[in-house]
Amino acid sequence: MQYKLTRIDPNTPTDQQYPIGQRGNVDDPMKQQVHRNVFMGKLEDVLNAGVNWGRKNSLWPYNFGLSCCYVEMTTAFTAPHDVARFGAEVIRASPRQADFMVIAGTCFIKMAPVIQQLYDQMLEPKWVISMGSCANSGGMYDIYSVVQGVDKFLPVDVYIPGCPPRPEAFLQGLQLLQDSVQEERRPLSWVVGDQGVYRAEMPSQKEKSRAERIQVTNLRTPDEV
C-alpha cells in the first residue's frame, strides 16, 4: 500500500501556503528494513493496529457547520440514523476536544481564515471530512465569494459527494474515514521515533463500485411510490 507522508516543520516561513507540511508518496514505513526484525516488527504491528483501532472507534466530531449540508449532518447525528453505532456521537463544541472536523457546507472566502484557525486549534491526531459538493469543489457556487473546494487550504481525508449528501452518505464517509485511520502510521508519542504522519492511499470508491453500477440497466420509474 502506498502512503502519503506529512511532516510539519515548526520553522515554516509565514508566506508558506496552507496546507503546511512536506508531502510525498512513500511505501509503508512498517515494511521498511528497520521494522523487519521478526519479534519487534510484530509487536509494532500489533501496537499500531491496536492504537488505530481505538482511534477509529471513538472519533469525536467537532460541532461545526457552514450551511445546508450541516442540516443533513445533524440528521445523521439524531435518532433515525444514530451515529452512536459508529462511536462518533460525542459532539464537541470546542475544537480542542475534537478529533475530526466535517466541512459541511460552502466554504466562503470570508470564512476560510476562521476555518483554518479552528483546524489549527484541533489537536493531533485530527482528520477532515469534506461533505458536499460545495466543500469538495465549490459545487454549484462558482462565484466570487466562494472558495472552490476546502482542499485549497485544508488537507482532506474523505470527500462525500452530494448536494447535500444524504445522512447515509455521511455515515458511509465516516466509515471510510475509520478504514483509513486503521491503516495509518503515526508516531506513538511525540518523543518516540519518526514524527511524520503516514496516511494510506485508500482505493477510490468510484472505481470500486464501477463494475456493479455499470450493470444497472433498468431504473425504477418515479411514477409510483
Partner: protein, 593 residues
Amino acid sequence: MTADTALSNSSQDVAQDGIVAELYAQFGAEAFTLQPTLIGMPVVWAAREQLLDIMKFLRGVPRPYVMLYDLHGVDERLRMHRDGLPKADFTVFYQLMSLERNSDIMLKVALSEADLRVPTVTGIWPNANWYEREVFDMFGIDFPGHPHLTRILMPPNWNGHPLRKDYPARATEFDPYTLTMEGQDKAQEALRFNPEDWGMQRRTEETDYMFLNLGPNHPSAHGAFRIVLQLDGEEIVDCVPDIGYHHRAAEKMGERQSWHSYIPYTDRVDYTGGVMNNLPYILAVEKLAGIKVPARVETIRIMMAELFRISSHLLFLGTYLQDLGAMSPVFFAFTDRQKSYEVIEAITGFRMHPAWFRIGGVAQDLPKGWEGKVKSFIDWMPKRLNEYQRAMMDNAVVRERTKGVAAYTTREALEWGVTGPNLRATGFEFDLRKARPYSGYENFEFEIPVAHNGDAFDRGMMRIEEMRQSLRIMQQCLDNMPAGDYKADHPLTTPPPREKMLQHIETLITHFLQVSWGPVLKANESQQMIEATKGINSYYLTSDGNTMSYRTRIRTPSYPHLQQIPAVMRGGFVPDLIAHLGSIDFVMADVDR
C-alpha cells in the same frame, strides 16, 4: 395578487391608486415618473433631492407606510429596455409597506455614475441601516448621514463592488484561492472588533466593559453568524451582529443562470424551506411570462410548500429547545422530519433541495400512491405536536427561560421590518396567505395563529400552532386535489411538454431552444411576495428581454430579524440572548443569500 390582476396593471390604473394621487397632490405630478410594471404596486421615480420629504410624507400620511420592506440597488448601465424611464447609471429602490392599506409602493431614485450619493433614510426607518450598508458594499453607493457605512457582506479588506455589472461573477475568473499563514493573520486581524468604531466605550467611571465575541462559529449561532457583546457582568449593554460569512451571491448568480436553471439556487436560500423557496421565484417569472397555471399545479405547490413549512418548523422546534438546554426534543423533531422526508422523497425524488417547481408547472405529476404517504404523515403529526406542547411548552423550565424574554411590541417589530411568525407573536395578525393570497391560498380554510406577548415563548408556541394549520391545509389538498395537467399549456412553460416535441421540425426546434438556451422573457419587472417559513420572502425580477434575469433581488425575512437583535437585547442577559437567537428561526443563507 393573482396573475390575472397583475397582468392588467397598466400605468393608468396605478395613477388612480390612492397613494399616487396623494403624492401628486402633495408634490405635484411633475415630481414623479410612473413606471408601468408587473410588480403589482405603483412604482414611482422621484428626484434624490425630494427623497427624504417624500419618505417622511409616506411615513406620516393617514394609513401610513409603516414598514420599510426592502431597499436595494440596480446597476442600470447595461440595461437596453429603459423606454420612458429617467436616465440613470444606478438606481436605489425602496419598497414601503402599508398594512392598513394592505398595499405597497416602490420608490426609485436615479443616480449618475459620477455622483453616487443618496441621503440616508435611517432617520425614518431604523432598519434601512443594514440595507444601505449592503447597497454600499455591493454597488459602492454612498449614503451621507449613515451612522456606520461599512461593508456588511464582503470582508472589510475586499476590493470592488460585486453587484456592479463590470464585476466578474465566477470564482474561476479570479486567481485560485490561496491562504498563507500571513494572510490568515491579516484576515483575522481585519475581523478584530474595535468598540470605538461603533461608538462604544471600553469603560465608564464605575465599570470596565467586557467585549465578548460570539461566533462566527458557535453552537447556538445556527451557522456562520457572529455577534459581539458589550457586557457589564452578565448584562448585555449593547451588541453588534456581524454577518456576511455565508454570502453565496445568489443575486449575482441570477444574472448568469437562465430563468430555468436558476431554480435550484432558490432552494438553497432558505435551505430548510425546500420548494417553498421556488414558489416566489416561479410566481414572479410566471407573471413576466404571462402564464396561468392549472388548478392542480397550484394545489400541488401549496401542499409541498406547507409540508416544507412543517419540516422547517420542526427543525426550529428541535434546535430552539436544544438552545434552551433540552437535549431530547431534537431527537423527536428529527424523527418527525424523517417522516416528512419520506413524503417529500416519494413525490420529488430528493430530500432537502428538490428544486421541483418549474416555470408553468411542477417537474412531474404526483406519483401513484402519493395519497397514502401524505395521509400517514397527516395522521402521525397531531399527536406528536400535542406531546411537544405538553412536554416542552408546558414545562416549567422552558417557560421560565422564555416567558417575557426578548419581548418586543408590534410597533417595534414593524419598525425593524419583522415579518412572519415573529410579527404575529406580537399579536398582529398579518399573513400574506390571507392578506394577499397567491397560488390559490384563497381557496383554503385555515386560521392565522397569533400570540400576544411577543416574547421568546410566544415565538416558539406560534410554530406549533402554525404546524397544525399547515396540516389542515395539507388535508384539504389531499381531499380536493384537482384533476388536470401538471404543466400549463403555454409556449414559455419550461421544459415544454414532451408529447408536443416530436410532431414536426418546428416543435422540435422550439423545444431544443427552450431547453438549451432557456425561455426568453419580455422586458419588464415583476415581483412576488410569499409567506415563507420564516417570514415574508420575495423575488423582484427585472427582465431585459433576455434568457437571464437582468437583476434578481431576493428579500429575505431573516435579514431584518438579525438586524433587530441589538434593539431587543440591550439590557438583557447572555442566556436570554441564546434563547432569543433560538426563537428567531433564522438560517444564515436566508440572511446573507
